[in-house]
């Protein structure tokens, strides 16, 4: 076990070092969430006054900010398998496989790297939100919950993405699948709008949508009247899903090894 942790640490280090060599990436990856937060937040700021309500705040940007952290984390996760495909394409994995490296660390490090980046980006998005007047009413604990929700949301889908990458092993297929999964789950969540404003069937669907679990947990701690039971439940659901998808990714890794 300790060996697996050490090796995961080495592998995450490798990926972060490579990323840091081109820090422009972190910035580029933030363009999209910023566009949502700044443009969308301004454009639709009156949406909170809709009859029926359910926003829990009159400030749309306050409603939006925690969900954008989750959205960013979610999309980052769906793409995380690309790094695995690039390692496969460049034959980096077979080289590692001829060493006693912990097999699980090769998969888990990809998930950890992805979640770490989501957390770093989450902090940046939250800091920008602060300057826009958003306040996390539960304070430091609230920040921790938002970032934990972002990390768990990311792990859950990064595990799935790694698994798919190991099964399809082709960039183009991976891109198609990431889009196929990403957009529907995003729109079937309460990221942009209060769940009370959407049709009944979408409200039902959202209950089973992990993206929405993350949004609920993150938003609860920002708005007044935080329901801690709901926060705990949704974080626990995300944790369970993360474990399941990590197991799936590990299983697909074994399948990949059999094709060498």
């Amino acid at each position: 076990m300790t060996l697996a942790v050490r090796h995961t640490w080495f592998m995450v280090g490798r990926q972060l070092r490579n990323l840091m060599r081109e820090p422009i990436w972190i910035a580029l990856l933030l363009v999209q969430p910023m566009v949502w937060l700044l443009l969308y937040g301004q454009l639709f700021k009156r949406v909170t006054q809709l009859p029926g309500g359910g926003f829990g705040t009159t400030s749309y940007i306050t409603f939006l900010a925690p969900a954008i952290v989750i959205m960013n984390s979610f999309f980052g996760a769906t793409w995380s398998g690309m790094a695995m495909i690039s390692d496969l394409d460049r034959d980096v994995l077979p080289r590692f496989l001829a060493t006693p490296v912990s097999r699980i660390s090769l998969v888990v490090s990809q998930i950890v790297r992805s979640a770490l980046i989501a957390v770093i980006q989450g902090v940046i998005i939250l800091l920008v939100s602060l300057t826009l007047g958003v306040s996390v009413h539960t304070g430091l604990l609230g920040w921790i919950v938002i970032l934990a929700a972002a990390a768990l949301m990311n792990s859950a889908f990064a595990g799935l993405s790694q698994g798919i990458a190991l099964l399809v092993r082709k960039e183009a297929t991976m891109i198609a699948i990431a889009n196929f999964i990403g957009l529907p789950l995003f729109f079937l969540s309460s990221t942009l709008i209060s769940i009370r404003q959407v049709p009944h069937w979408m409200q039902i669907a959202a209950k089973f949508n992990p993206v929405n679990w993350g949004v609920i947990a993150a938003r609860e701690v920002v708005l007044r009247g935080t329901h801690w039971g709901s926060v705990g439940l949704h974080l626990a659901l995300l944790f369970g899903l993360s474990v399941a998808t990590a197991a799936f990714a590990t299983w697909t890794f074994r399948a990949y090894q059999r094709t060498i």
């Binding site: 280090g13 490798r14 460049r90 034959d91 077979p94 496989l97 001829a98 060493t99 006693p100 060498i260």
Partner: protein, 328 residues
Amino acid sequence: MDAIVVDELRKRYGAVQALQGVGFRVRAGEVFGLLGPNGAGKSTTVKVLATLTKPDSGHAEVAGCDVVGEPNAVRRAIGYVPQSSGVDRDATGRENLTLQGRIQGVGGRALEARVDELLELLGLAEAADRVVRGYSGGMKRRLDVGLGLVHRPQVLFLDEPTTGLDPEARASMWDELERLAEGEALTILLTTHYMEEADQLADRLAIVSRGRVVVAGTPEELKRSLRGEAVEVELADGRAADAESIVAALEEVHEASSEGRKLRSRVASGARAIPSILSALEAKGIGVEAVTTHRPSLDDVYLHYTGREFAAEDEAGGRDDGSGGDGR
């Protein structure tokens, strides 16, 4: 003691029987060459020995450990340089070597010193802190070799270490490998398409064809096993196939093969065979540009043992990256 024992290995990929009973032994400290055409099963053999893939049946031991039963013990004892480079191109040479050392359980000062030593040894000291993306093919390949050596393995597997290198880079790689073989007390298993490479580097070699070892021995033994001389005829026009069947039918000729406008044949004595070859060709109106004779080279050994199959497999599109599905 034998550093590598391979016995009756079989391995099937879908419809392709990649290995059909490969067997050989490599003594500790020896440089052993695996020579064979595309798709012969060289890389598959190495992948089994490096514990990347499991054989369907058969038995193999590396450094005294069973590759299926004790894979981690084998992994600690070996260095593996794959046919296609496995370096992380976004990292520097030093970072690549350091990470490889860490996962092999080397660390701290010892690792730093070893990495410096290897960078020096492989002529990469100046490029050490540059990202690998900017390395030349030869530099990248030397780094690959370095990655296999970080933890001072007992056995090093080199899968086509010089394919794709220009002649100069190849020659310098040969020098490196010769020095390594002496300096590091290594057993080396090397696969190659190049006769010269096997001739120069290998103490012993095995010729592999269609998943089997067809012959094994020292380069000298193999050359001696082909008695007589090789006669090479350069034809004036392209009727190589006709010429081949005419010459092959002659009593003085052991065997003949052709490639382009070149007709190669093996004979007991050049002085006696050449007149009959020339007159037989002339009788059928096939013009001749030049005739040479020489002692059998490793090339002739290779052609003798894999000749027909080599040509047939090339046509069947066997020349791929080895990951393709069918082969033939």
